[in-house]
């Protein structure tokens, strides 16, 4: 893997451990858990796409749930209406969402910051209604179910698709897991490649100072529009994986809540770090799927309260997210150990996290004056 080049021995070991864990996991978990892991992957991929836009490029989208939903519906419509085979629909979803992203990216050139957040919030709210409005295509509130013909109770019937594993000893959920793990890794490798490339540096430059970026020869408009498209395309892949994993789409799966969760995953894990959104998605998934159901019943309905409080607290205390916080911590430790003399040799990603930290240093008074 390209991204492993120049990585120290300790890092390689940790990557290897992570890889082993990801491979072993489906064999040690119940099938329903494996399907939940796949859901976390879909959120991770979509959050990774959102991170390109919001973390690296500074365009805030509270509406990526709508793009995720567009990807999911693209898959469902292609499979149910046009009878496409399952996996090619992922590519179609990416293309459709890329185009939708470019279209949304055009007005986003003029609408920035909090105002863009406002518009995208409205998009997220509107999405399920659009689905209901065009129910002839989308199935309305009943949604669409991905079916195939199966033999049951003596006759051939349309039933929910199953992922038949071609490999002996690999259960259907495990097979599905590895397919989606593969797609997710590809997405993150692409994201990492974009971030490390010159394009990635222009994204950050535009975020930090648009005029300066323009002066230094970056085509700001084109870059921003294409970023919106790519980000949307990746979110669409996440949504496509969702539809294929669940075998169904339904408007209530794509409400504003989903968009908020994607944003939470990005910020919690660490905006403008490649792996941050994946970590945020997993933490969020663990919270919702593993911890919340175990809470005593009176606290179960308190999950939004806990989540909201954590979010505010994190923004105030560790605004660079878990990866940023973890990085600061290890850096402090290594500085102390090495007398602070030696520089971290892997600076490239570090720079971006540092910028976020610097940018978010707490300031109690916007006027800079304490009464």
């Amino acid at each position: 893997m390209k991204s492993l080049r120049g990585v120290g021995p300790v890092q390689s070991v940790l990557w290897a451990i992570a890889l082993v864990v990801l491979i072993v996991l489906p064999f040690t978990s119940a099938p329903f858990r494996v399907e939940q892991y796949i859901t976390w992957m879909t959120i991770a991929v979509a959050a990774g796409g959102l991170n390109l836009l919001t973390g690296y490029n500074g365009q805030i989208s509270v509406g990526h749930g709508a793009l995720y939903g567009t990807g999911a519906y693209t898959v469902a419509i292609l499979v149910t209406d046009a009878e496409w085979p399952l996996l090619p629909t992922v590519i179609a979803a990416a293309v459709v969402c890329f185009m939708v992203g470019v279209i949304i990216g055009l007005p986003a050139l003029r609408i920035k910051g909090l105002y863009l957040a406002l518009v995208t919030l409205a998009v997220a709210t509107l999405f399920p209604l659009v689905i209901e409005q065009f129910s002839d295509l989308t199935g309305g509130s009943g949604g669409l179910t991905l079916t195939s013909e199966q033999l049951y109770r003596g006759s051939i019937r349309d039933r929910r698709v199953k992922w038949e594993s071609p490999i002996d000893g690999l259960a259907s959920d495990q097979w599905k897991y590895f397919i989606f793990l593969g797609i997710s890794i590809v997405c993150f490798v692409v994201i990492a490649a974009i971030v490390k490339s010159r394009v990635g540096r222009s994204l950050v430059a535009i975020r930090d100072n648009e005029t300066a970026a323009e002066v230094s020869g970056i085509n700001v408009s084109r870059t921003k529009i294409i970023t919106f498209g790519v980000s949307a395309g990746i979110a669409g892949i996440g949504g496509a994986m969702f539809a294929l994993n669940k075998g169904q789409v339904n408007p209530t799966s794509f409400t504003l809540t989903l968009s908020i969760y994607l944003l939470v995953a990005v910020v919690l894990g660490g905006a403008s770090t490649v792996i941050g959104p994946a970590i945020g998605a997993v933490i969020y998934g663990v919270f919702i799927d593993v911890i919340a159901p175990e809470l005593p019943e009176t606290l179960e309905s308190a999950t939004p309260l806990i989540l909201g409080t954590l979010l505010v607290a994190q923004m105030l205390m560790a605004p660079s997210g878990i990866v940023g916080w973890f990085h600061d911590l290890t850096e402090k430790v290594s500085r102390r150990r090495q007398g602070g003399g030696k520089q971290d040799k892997n600076v490239d990603v570090t720079v971006t996290t540092h910028e976020v930290v610097a940018e978010t240093d707490l300031e109690t008074d916007p006027g800079g004056f304490h009464p």
């Binding site: 991204s3 990585v7 890092q11 390689s12 940790l14 990557w15 451990i17 992570a18 864990v21 990801l22 996991l25 064999f27 040690t28 978990s29 119940a30 329903f32 858990r33 399907e35 939940q36 859901t39 709210t125 209604l129 209901e132 309305g140 509130s141 009943g142 949604g143 049951y152 109770r153 929910r160 990492a192 669940k246 169904q248 339904n250 209530t252 799966s253 809540t257 660490g270 770090t273 490649v274 792996i275 941050g276 994946a278 970590i279 997993v282 933490i283 799927d289 593993v290 159901p293 019943e297 179960e300 309905s301 878990i322 990866v323 973890f326 971290d344 040799k345 892997n346 990603v349 570090t350």
Partner: protein, 445 residues
Amino acid sequence: MSTNWKGLAALGCALVLIGSACGRDDGDDSSSDSDNGDSSSEEGAFINPSEDCDAYDGTAGVDGDTIKIGTIRPADGPYAIYDQVTSGLDAWVESTNANGGVTAGDGNTYQIELIKENDGYDPGRTPELAKKLVEQEGVFAIVGVIGTESNKAIRDYLNDECVPNIALATGSTEWGRADEYPWYIAGLPSYATEASMWVDYLEETNPDAQIALLYQDDDFGEAYRATLQKEIEGTDMEILAEQSYNPLSGGSTEAATVSLSQSGADTFIVGLGGTPCPATLTFMPDTWTPETFISVTCGGNTALSLAGGKDVGVLLAQAVYEPGDPADQDQPAVQEFMTNGAAGGLDEGQLTGGISSVGWSFGALFGAGLEESDTVDRAAIMNTLFSLEDASFGLIRDEMDITTDGGEDPWPLEGFRIVSRTADGSWEEVMPFNNKNGESNEIAG
């Protein structure tokens, strides 16, 4: 990529922790002996598990004298009100256990353990929770899952696994397809049957009714609409105007109601659930006084207390005793519910609200199946529930002829009476109970 490895490692560690916490059982649970369901394999029974199930385990979830059941409902989000239904189910379980348990047909007395999962009314989440209940918790049956779409989302899975899904908390006409999905039995009457009762009443009282229809823009409202259209065909009745309403839309039903009020209709059908139903009554202009029908889903005190007094005189097709109705207070079923429901943890508002009592009846339907079956076996219970003969359970009215016959007649509840709301919160009968046994599927078309 320099800092990212740390993150990835952290991700890996987290995953290992979760993985090990719920380690997969290598020996497949469901492959254990399948020869214990003698009664279930009877000749001629509706379900024959040895034919329909790959790896049938009829007694999964039965551990000594405890039977584990599961349910899925929204506990947060905009539909969290339906959690009140599950509170009723919970109260049935609690009070049944406190009173010693259910004495099943095999002569043993069982305690019930209820495990509740929260899908937030998102059918995208329901399947994994159903699988969790079956795979991890190992429940015997699933009872009272809320919502048409949520139940549809787990239908193939539960039928493949041969896990009973009893007393679905929805009246979608989908549940008439028992031949295809024999492990599903509805807990409410079909919405279509309800609508046909309205038409029956109108035929007697207002044969050339001019109808204004406001219906919820989903499977539930569509069932009302389709049935009305079908049932008034060939009569002098007419749907003069109709409007749909989507609860997600962010608007109220006010514009739709006001628009319908201008149609000149003399009959108003409010095919809505939840708060929009009583809210619609408050939006009706004083100048418009049609005969108004409301959906059975908002016939309880909790919903109608939101109507600000404008619920007086509305009509309803009613199938159950209303614990909040002074006229029903003397019914033994109601008295039992008031006593045991309170002991099971329901507060005053829940007892008389008309929502939790529905969930109570769901539990009672499961209990009835358990009591009437010769053995405690998944298929045996389903076969029992699909061959009921004038049974009775929970808060269902005595006039109801609860009779089922497999795929021929899969609906336990098919009768209603028409009642009118009085100023003191009672329901007054305006058309006597009518059983439409075995007709629900035909009505639904």
